[in-house]
Structure formats: C-alpha cells, structure tokens
Amino acid sequence: MTSETATIDAEGLETRDVNRGIKQAIADGAREIHVLHPAGRHSFAVALKEEGLEVVFEGPVGWYTAGMNFGPHVVVRGNCGWAIGECMMDGRIEVFGHAGSGTAASIRGGLVYIQGDTGARAGIAMKGGTLVVGGDAGYMTGFMMQEGRIVICGDAADGIGDSMYEGTIYVGGSVASRGADAEVEEMTGEDAVYLKGVLDPFGIDAGSLDFTKIRSGRKLWNFSTKEPELWTSAL
C-alpha cells in the first residue's frame, strides 16, 4: 500500500470513531481507505465530498451507508442494508452482494451498482443518477422516481415504476406487474447503446438480455375529473 492508502479496523470502535477515522485519514492525505470488519453496522462513510477518494468496506455494511455523499467512490465487499447511498449528490457506489430496501433512495446523481438483488423500493424518489441492479429487484422499485435511470438485469417484482414522474427503468428479466401509470415504451437504438455502456464495466452483456423499457404515462401529472378511476387505482 502507498502512503495514500489507509486502513481502519472497525472492530471495537464506535460508528462515530470509524467515521472520524475516515475523515482524519482524508485530512492526512489518504485517497484509498480500507475499512475492516464493518460487520453490518450502520451509517458508515456518510457526507463525504472528496472526489477521487475510494472507501472500501471489506465486509457487509448496514443501513444508510454512503448517504449524502458528493464525489467519493465507495465499494462494499458484502451485503448492504437499507438505503445505501441515500440522497447521494454524485459519486459511485459498488456493492458486491445483496442490498436491503430503499437502495439509492432520492439520489440526485452518480451511480449505484448492486451486484446481487435489491429489496423493496429501490430507487424510490430518485432525482437523477443511475441505479444498476445485477440481480432481481423487489417490490415497487422506482416508486415515485423523478429523474435518472434504473437498470435491472434480473426480474422485477410487483409494482415497478409506481407513480413515477419521470426517468426510465429498464428490466432485463420478467416484470411481475407494473405500478400505477408506469407504461412500456419501445426500446430504441439509443437505449441499446446506453445499456451497453453502463453494463460493460460490470461484465454484463447487455445484448444477451431482452430489456423492457418503462416510463411514466404522465397521466398522474394533473388531476382529471374525467379519469377518476385512474386516481382511485393509484391511491
């Protein structure tokens, strides 16, 4: 390891001490920080804003990991709990395991990659950025998303894209059911180019998957007394 690399053993440390250790390592010039024994604990590596910084968790992390970040690259070698990357402004998160519910909730930018499956409501209220799910996605993925893209390489559970305002969801496997006002659109050549570009770095052959493209039908944008059944079913 170079002098720009730091290692923090989380075993026996309070969460605040681990996060302070990360901040101190950054202040000391570290650009690559390895955290050992995270053991599924919560709220690590949050509110970091250093571009070019890489934080690697050598094991599973808990809830709200890497939330509110603006720039860093966070790697998790294991599972992550609920709401990883919540409210991330920019940066990159890669999880080499499964994720809990609320993955990438409300992100505004950057990329979140989950190698395995995600729980319910991944990409809820996304306002930008990209979420890539290598496995299956849970219930109501993309609920009320407003911008950005979600790429699911496996199957999507019930209610995908429910009440989405904008943004695009691609599903490479089966779709159990679409949510309210989530419509299928025809795939274009531009979509294929985009998917190849975003999946190639993860070793996923976009061409081997038969993607379904889902976008908002925009019928819920404005209330209409002529379509009361639409609102009844949505609510």
Binding site: H42, W63, Y139
Partner: protein, 302 residues
C-alpha cells in the same frame, strides 16, 4: 410494534445448539430497535411424557406465590419438577389438563401469568436488555433445536413483561410468535378467534398472529398454507416469525415494510431484522443473508 427487532435460529436435522446464548446475544445486537424489553422462546429436548410450563410471578412474595402455583397445578395435573429462577417458575407436569392448565393457575393465583406451555418450548421475557435477562434467568446454558427472540419498542400496548414478546398461542402447546409491525385489523381478527373459543392473555396486537396460525394448524392446515393465508388475512405491517415444536416459519407483508433477513447453510438457519445481528455471531462470509421479499413466506421443519 413499529421498530422492534426479531431474531431466530434453527439447527437442522437432529442437531442442537446453545439457543439461549445465541438468541440473547443476537437480541442485544438489536437493542436500539427495542430498548423496552426482550424475550425468547427456546425449544429444548422434547418431553414425550410431559409438558414444561413457564410461569411469571409478578409479586414480591415469591415463595408464597410458588406454593400457590404448585397447589393450583396439582389440582389438574401432576407436577414432576419445579424450579424458580428470579421470578420465572419452571414446572414439569405430566399433562396440560387438555389445555386448561394455564387458565387454572391464573384463576387460582393472583398475578401469576403463564407465559408458555409445551413439550419443548419455554418462554422467558422481561424488561431491559437481553444480556441482563440472560443472566437473570440463567439462559446461557440452555441448549435446544431452535429458538426465537425479540427486542421491543412498545407502541401499541403497555410496557410491561406480559406485553413483551414472544407470545404463546394459548392454549396450543409449543407455538409462539415474535413480530415487528402493526396489525391494524387486530380487533376484528381477535373477535373472530374469540368467537371460536380462543382466549387472549394480553391487549397486544401481535398475540393475534400466534393464535391465528395455531388455529389453522389445529384445523389441519400445513404451516406453509397458514403462512400464505396470513399474508391476505393480516392487515397492516408485519415481519413475523412463528415457531412450533418442529421448527419455524416467517412471513412479510405485501408492502415489505419491516425488515427481515435469513441466512442458511447445511447446518443451520439464522434470521434477524438486521444483518448486524447475524454477523456478530456468524461472521463467515460464506453465510450470505437475504432479505425476505414482499409477501414472501419461508419455513423450516425437522
């Protein structure tokens, strides 16, 4: 219970393990989810010729209360053994008086509450953290086939020992539940079960899950069928774990509101509301927890 923690462990085949220590240690990892109280339902060696009974004595004159409980039990069954740890009285009896033993004890002895009756199951619960409960009731040496545990943050009913989890599905032996969530059609379900003759020991909404499932099992339904039916019949939010003498099952509501993970290998199954609870005891990266999906049910039986 909105923000509670639930845990479980099940040893496959004929294996047993330190379920008392494992359950309380796993509960302690989730104490922030439920600092009010903690409890466990532990399944030890099965008694073919009797039942084990756990009675909570909520009064200061413990010796007097113990004597009164023994006298009450002797009216309807034969007490083979009795031992008290703190306020938890453990009896071994020849039979449960066709399901009436708990009622008889509670009718005869004021402030005595029967937490469990079963051929294998023992429920111990108290206020505070699980590690303290472990010490207070000497649970560390308890070995068994499986167990479930709970840390409670009370929202729906009183903060006291009786309203803590796990709940026994009275009067069905060996059936218990731990639950994270809120059953919003609790009163309707409870009335329906009471009309069938079932009695409830508390005002806690989670108790209805135990009786609901036990009622279905008693009617001949499989655990799988009962769990699947519960997804539609229980209204509200829930991730629950229900245990029988043979194993346990779990279910998650249609909105996947409450967390629950399970991890399994050739020897065991372990479950918890959060991975932190699993990892504290089982750090092997080969054991990979998975989050239960919406409307998903799973079960493991011997």
């Amino acid at each position: 219970m909105h923000v509670c923690g639930i845990v479980g462990v099940f040893y496959k085949g004929s294996a047993t393990g330190p379920v008392g220590q494992v359950m309380t240690d796993m509960c302690d990892q989730l104490f922030r989810r439920g600092p009010d109280s903690a409890g466990v339902a532990l399944y030890g060696p099965r008694l073919d010729d009797g039942f084990v009974v756990r009675v909570d004595l909520d009064r200061p004159d413990l010796d007097v209360a113990e004597g009164a409980v023994l006298a009450a039990a002797d009216e309807v069954t034969t007490v083979k053994d009795a031992a008290r740890t703190a306020r938890s009285l453990r009896l071994v009896v020849t039979d449960d008086a066709e399901g009436k033993l708990a009622d008889v004890i509670e009718e005869r002895v004021p402030d005595a509450r029967v937490f469990s009756v079963g051929r294998s199951m023992e429920i111990v619960k108290d206020l505070g953290m699980a590690c303290d409960i472990n010490q207070r009731y000497d649970l560390g040496s308890f070995r068994g086939s499986h167990g479930i545990g709970h840390t409670r943050m009370a929202t729906e009913s009183r903060v006291d020992i009786a309203h803590s989890h796990p709940f026994w599905a009275r009067p069905f032996p060996d059936i218990s539940v731990v639950h994270n969530g809120q059953i919003t059609n609790y009163h309707k379900l409870r009335r329906r079960l009471e009309q069938k003759g079932h009695r409830f020991a508390t005002e806690n909404d989670s108790e209805v899950i135990a009786v609901y499932i036990a009622d279905k099992l008693a009617a001949g339904e499989t655990l799988d069928a009962a769990l699947r039916a519960s997804i539609d019949d229980l209204d509200g939010t829930f991730a629950y774990l229900i245990s029988t003498v043979d194993g346990f099952g779990l279910a998650r509501d249609q909105f996947a509101t409450k967390p629950l993970l399970y991890a399994e290998d050739d020897e065991m199954v372990v479950l918890a509301s959060e991975e932190i609870s699993i990892r504290a005891l089982f750090p092997d990266p080969a054991l990979v927890p998975r989050e239960l999906q919406a409307k998903e049910v799973r079960w493991w039986l011997r």
